[in-house]
């Protein structure tokens, strides 16, 4: 440690090389910090629970095409048959699938008319089995009753009497009330169509994962007669894949003039939904890892060159009484200084890049803790990279000093 002064002064004699390395470290830090920030950001988006029992759920689409296709009859029969399948916990018809990207949203108001805050909510049409099939928890109020389930035609503009909303919807509509206290309140849809909130569910995501209101969902007690319908099925744990096949075959066996298609699990749907995020994360991880390796190898290369260039100087130092540890220390301290300078620059540029990203890509501000963590890691990386060449330097024989080449 008592070599700091001379090492620093010697470094100043080789400013450009040291500066280039420092710049490289600064940029490495900048990229790593911001990349990991982005990765974390995406991770937190992906970690939001959908509210479903994803591992044990799947869905399929049934589309009628023949003239004699009796939709209402087919739906009732299908659902009955599906629920009877051993291993099926419950099944419901649903118009859209959470996270799938396609669905229906409407505006809800707390007062009738065209004025006032219009809160967008995703609409899921389900029957009284919806709550169990989706595996959402009713935290207040009641489920729909069997008798209130009605049928909805394609161009219908009317709405039923009751609805169930998520806690997040309740908070948005009635910010002053606890979600449970909103049971019995009325929301208005399509201007002045009233809907009574009869129940609150804890959590359920909308079909669009990028929507700011992704937690805002409303369940409406209707089955749809849109020509094409989706069935959402929840199975006992571990039975999903078997039941998927059985369900498809079961429906195909009913000669009803319809197609069965798009049989997919919730797991696949989640993967598809977050594929872009997942891909960006992978790309960023690869960048971070490669960058770290390149920078580390760059340091190894630089120090190796320097050691080779300074072989005679090292021999001289050894002759003058430097121990192996002193020589190792020299290179370690030298690297520490260059790295520290680079990290200081990196501190500034990391923040600058983040400010730009916040501005250009609406990314959240970086957590301050990233900076010291990245610095410590890069310090260690530098020391690790320098260790090998420094040890070779320490192995240089002091007898080199007397060689006249």
């Amino acid at each position: 440690m008592n070599q700091i002064g001379p090492i620093f002064r010697a470094l100043l004699r080789n400013k450009v090389g040291a500066f280039l390395l420092a710049l490289q470290i600064a940029l490495t830090m900048t990229i790593i910090v911001n990349a990991i920030h982005m990765i974390e950001n995406r991770s937190s988006l992906m970690a939001r629970p959908s509210g479903l029992d994803e591992a044990n759920q799947f869905y399929l689409t049934s589309s009628g095409y023949r003239d004699d296709f009796n939709e209402q009859l087919v739906i009732e029969q299908d659902l009955r048959l599906l629920r009877q399948l051993p291993g099926v916990i419950n099944a419901t018809q649903i118009n859209a699938i959470p996270l799938s990207g396609g669905g229906w949203s409407m505006g809800l108001r707390t007062a009738p008319g065209q004025d006032g805050l219009n809160t967008g909510v995703a609409i899921y049409f389900v029957d009284e089995n919806g709550i169990e099939a989706l595996d959402v928890e009713l935290i207040a109020g009641n489920n729909f009753s069997t008798s209130e389930i009605s049928y909805r035609e394609a161009n219908a503009v009317e709405w039923p009497q009751n609805a169930i909303i998520t806690a997040a919807t309740a908070k948005e509509l009635f910010p002053d009330l606890e979600p449970a206290q909103t049971v019995g309140k009325t929301g208005y849809i399509s201007g002045d169509e009233p809907l009574t909130i009869i129940g609150i569910i804890d959590q359920l995501q909308a079909p669009w994962n990028g929507w700011s209101g992704v937690e805002r969902v409303m369940l409406v007690p209707q089955r749809t007669l849109f020509g094409s319908s989706r069935y959402f099925i929840r199975t006992e744990p571990g039975q999903r894949d078997r039941i998927m096949k059985e369900a498809e075959e079961l429906l195909l066996r009913q000669d009803a003039g319809r197609l069965v298609r798009n049989v997919r699990t919730m797991t696949e749907t989640r993967e598809d939904s977050y594929r872009g995020h997942q891909a960006l994360q992978t790309v960023l991880w690869i960048t971070v890892v490669l960058l770290t390796i390149i920078t580390a190898l760059g340091i190894v290369g630089m120090v190796t060159f320097n050691v080779n260039r300074r072989r005679k100087q090292i021999g001289t130092r050894r002759a003058l009484g430097a121990s192996r540890g002193d020589i190792m220390g020299y290179f370690m301290i030298e690297n520490f200084m260059v790295t520290s300078f680079g990290l200081l620059l990196g501190l500034g540029s990391s923040i600058a890049l983040n400010i730009w990203l916040v501005d250009a890509f609406n990314l959240p501000r970086i957590g301050w803790h990233y900076l010291p963590i990245a610095m410590v890691i890069l310090w260690l990386l530098g020391q690790l990279a320098v260790f090998g060449p420094a040890r070779r330097a320490a192995g240089i024989s002091p007898a080199l000093a007397t060689r006249t080449t």
Binding site: R317, R318, G321, T404
Partner: protein, 238 residues
């Protein structure tokens, strides 16, 4: 001061076995000024490296200042070099990125002296070699003779008991060589033991004792009875 008894050193490659030193025996008393001469390949440099603890030896005993150096660890050897030996090299071996002050400072740092002590010693050593005014210059800004004087200052700063010089004037012209030799003699007179390896018989004569090495052995020892007279003569020749 330096007692080498039956030292041998062998370099082995796959094909050849070279005896660089065999049964090398040499005693140097405290305050001596010894010149080691010999044709190239005679083992001069190996002697120098062994004497300076830069290399180990295979057989025999070596006592430096009464202490056997056999079996000492690398760091113990480094410490001995640092405290007891001052080195002067043919090509000076100054560190090009450091100014004169920092160059002289190098061995003192390894000695863990405090800053004030180092500063005092550096200034004193540079004063002795007459370069105190150029402390902040870089070696490349100096002539060869000046560079070697800095190297001598570096060797002196730690106040070693024993100075090892390897062809100290080999890279210098005659005038500069003489001034360097004068300096060495002066140092010797002040009590430091000096061992100088050289191929120049004229320079060797300025030492009190000449040792001629051939085939890795001491083959001849001559004493220059009146060293000062010889010195005078050489100076006139120069």
């Amino acid at each position: 001061m330096l007692k080498m008894n039956n030292i041998s050193k062998v370099f082995r490659t796959d094909v050849v076995e070279t005896h660089a030193l065999r049964d090398f025996t040499l005693h140097v008393e405290e305050g001596d000024f010894v010149a080691v001469t010999g044709p190239s390949g005679s083992g001069k440099t190996t002697f120098l490296n062994v004497a300076g603890l830069l290399e180990t030896f295979d057989d025999g005993d070596y006592l430096l200042d009464g202490q056997s150096v056999k079996g000492l660890s690398d760091s113990q050897l480094a410490r001995l070099r640092n405290e007891k030996i001052g080195f002067i090299f043919q090509s000076f071996n100054l560190l090009p990125d450091l100014n004169l002050f920092d160059n002289v400072d190098v061995p003192l740092r390894y000695r863990r002296f405090n800053a004030a002590e180092r500063k005092r010693r550096i200034e004193e050593a540079l004063e002795v070699v007459g370069l105190a005014s150029r402390m902040r210059h870089l070696p490349s800004q100096l002539s060869g003779g000046q560079q070697q004087r800095v190297a001598i200052a570096r060797a002196l700063a730690g106040q070693p008991r024993f100075l090892l010089a390897d062809e100290p004037t080999g890279n210098l012209d005659t005038q500069m060589a003489n001034s360097v030799m004068d300096l060495l003699e002066q140092i010797n007179k002040e009590g430091t033991t000096v061992v100088m390896v050289t191929h120049d018989p004229l320079l060797a004569q300025r030492a009190q004792r000449n040792i001629f090495v051939r085939d890795g052995r001491v083959s001849e020892v001559t004493s220059n009875a009146d060293a000062s007279e010889l010195l005078h003569k050489t100076a006139q020749v120069g």
